[in-house]
């Protein structure tokens, strides 16, 4: 056995055994089949209570909002959540109290917009068991899983309390004698990623930054794709350099135009800062927030209804103009 110099005492929620992951992937379908379904179907089929969930994008940028809403709407529970690069997605899922365990790299906050009062209450309630990481640490855990190995090394986190409350193990590199932090592979049971274009089989294109989604798509055992628009497989095959997620990783494809709203979708529409501010404001009063959630999520049947509630195409058009730096009068 490796001589482990130091290790964090945080809980490891998932087994990093690559042979167990391989046994799963051995049975995953490889044939090109039409995977088109509704968001409701995708969540019913692939998000199960007690399992590990990860969400793509960067908090309020290119996020699969419809999937987050639907998980709350279907009142999923006891999930384990990958709380990295998460902001508005975390806010939604915390509002539904759908998870009771959480790997933390960045939670509660919405960057410069401030902290979510409700998410903070939930995380301070004692209802959630946590393990600490960093954004890159979580990306490395997904990278290890995507590579099919049980760990990869990094030179961060060591010496800190973040390390102490993580599940990292520090070893000495046998080539150099240097200390290396080893990150255990993370194969989420299910992940959801929002992309620009996909075909019905799940071949995907993303424009702009990829954040940690390419690693996530490969690490996840089940993958739900929401896309701004479907394209034909011939379009995908006309320029295979653009494909960043191949179809055989994907289990469900849902066409959800404006699907990152109120988040930003690069080259499509900017984030709706007024709506995001509304969330933060209404959250200060738990009673008001319950009503808000009932109206926005529990009371809507799908994402289109939620969009309509918040200004519909007219609002989206304003956000499109903002994205493209066009001044409307």
């Amino acid at each position: 056995m490796f001589d482990v110099i130091a290790q964090g005492d945080g809980p490891l929620f998932m087994d990093p055994d690559p042979d167990k992951a391989r046994e799963f992937f051995r049975t995953k379908k490889r044939a090109m089949a039409n995977k088109l379904m509704t968001v409701r179907e995708a969540v019913e089929k692939f998000v199960h209570d007690g399992e590990y969930l990860a969400i793509g994008g960067f908090g309020a940028n290119r996020i699969p909002t419809a999937i987050c809403h639907e998980i709350v709407r279907q009142r999923k529970k006891n999930l384990i959540f990958a709380g990295h690069t998460s902001t508005h997605d975390f806010q939604i899922l915390a509002a539904g109290e759908v998870f009771d365990r959480c790997d933390i790299a960045y939670i509660i906050g919405l960057e410069a917009r401030g902290l979510s009062p409700n998410a903070r209450r939930y995380m301070e309630s004692g209802k959630v068991t946590v393990c600490e990481w960093t954004n890159y640490a979580m990306a490395l855990r997904l990278k290890a899983a995507a590579m099919g190995v049980s760990f990869v090394p990094g030179r961060n986190i060591m010496g800190t309390d973040t390390f102490k409350h993580s599940a990292v193990k520090v070893v000495q590199c046998p080539f150099t004698g240097k200390k290396m932090a080893l990150y255990p592979a993370l194969w989420p049971d299910v992940a959801a990623i929002h992309v620009h274009e996909a075909d019905v089989f799940g071949n995907c294109r993303i424009r702009g930054i990829s954040i940690a989604d390419l690693e996530l798509a490969r690490a996840a055992k089940h993958l739900i794709i929401t896309c701004e628009r479907l394209v034909h497989n011939e379009e995908i095959r006309s320029d295979p350099t653009q494909t960043v997620i191949p179809y055989f990783l994907v289990d469900a494809v849902c066409e959800v135009p404006f699907g990152s709203y109120p988040g930003n979708m690069p080259y499509e529409y900017y984030s709706d800062e007024e709506h995001l501010k509304k969330w933060l404001q209404v959250e200060t009063d738990p009673e008001e927030f319950r009503k808000f959630l009932d109206e926005q999520i529990y009371g809507t049947k799908d994402f289109n209804e939620y969009l309509e509630l918040n200004g519909g195409i007219e609002r989206i058009n304003q956000l499109r103009a903002q994205e493209h730096l066009i001044e409307l009068d």
């Binding site: 042979d19 490889r30 044939a31 899983a145 099919g148 190995v149 350099t241 960043v244 191949p246 055989f248």
Partner: protein, 255 residues
């Protein structure tokens, strides 16, 4: 019975081992022809991957290199070597097809040297991606002529892992569980492996050959499967597709 040559026979036999909806990492030449033939016969949803990055192309012609532009012609994705090998390492690739200068009774392959490694009599290219594919894919297939100089008691150099020294040696060495050599397809027979000892055994013999002839052209003792059958010969349809659609210029089957 249809008329066919040795290469056609091997390609047809190999193509039948690939089931629909499977994934396969292939090289150029006979393996690629076998995969293309399978796609055009019983396995339309066979997913072909090339080590340099091509995923599921609509192959317009036989590629010359596993990295040439044919290998990602109208592909679903043009990726890279790590993408392919890591897809294999994750357990998503069912088959790989390999060759080699030598193979032993445990399916170990040599493509590195003949003679002493430090002072080689003959130097060959080395592993390339073969060791990687053979370590990661669930099942390894080999297409090679039946020849006692190729089927040897001990390969000069284990470039690419088969079952190593047999039994559980492969997993004990650290390679992924439940992987390993699956079939060897020659001009005389199709061989598999004994589930316990992991030694090569004859499973079916091509029309016109006997077990004794296969054994004579093998440098080690071959086992027999509980039932050794005659390989069903290539059908007219298989040969016709192979000749007209897979390799019309007879780059591979014309050899």
């Amino acid at each position: 019975m249809a008329d066919y040559n040795t290469m056609e026979l091997m390609i047809v036999a190999a193509s039948r081992e690939l089931e629909d909806g499977a994934t396969v990492g292939v090289g150029t030449g006979a393996p690629c022809a076998a995969a293309m033939l399978a796609q055009k016969t019983k396995a339309p949803n066979l997913v072909i991957m090339f080590e340099a990055g091509g995923i599921s192309p609509l192959l317009p012609t036989m590629p010359i290199s596993v990295g040439d532009s044919r290998t990602f012609y109208k592909a679903v994705m043009a990726s890279g070597m790590c993408e392919i090998m890591e897809t294999c390492q994750r357990g998503m690739v069912d088959y790989t097809f390999l060759g080699g200068a030598q193979i032993d009774m445990y399916g170990n392959l040599n493509s590195t040297v003949i003679g002493d490694w430090a002072n080689p009599k003959v130097r060959f290219p080395g592993s390339g991606g073969a060791n990687d594919f053979a370590s990661f894919c669930w099942r390894i297939m080999v297409i090679t002529p039946q020849d006692a100089r190729r089927f040897v008691e001990r390969v000069s150099f284990i470039t690419t892992p088969g079952y190593l020294t047999g039994g559980n040696a492969r997993e004990e060495a650290g390679l992924p569980a439940n992987t390993g050599p699956y079939k060897v397809i020659t001009n005389m027979a199709v061989m598999g492996y004994d589930p316990d000892s992991k030694r090569m055994r004859v499973e079916s013999i091509h029309h016109g050959f006997t077990f004794e002839q296969v054994q004579e052209n093998c440098g080690f003792e071959l086992l027999k499967a509980p039932e050794v059958v005659e390989t069903p010969p290539p059908t007219e349809e298989e040969l016709s597709i192979l000749r007209s659609e897979v390799d019309p210029h007879r780059y591979i089957i014309g050899r």
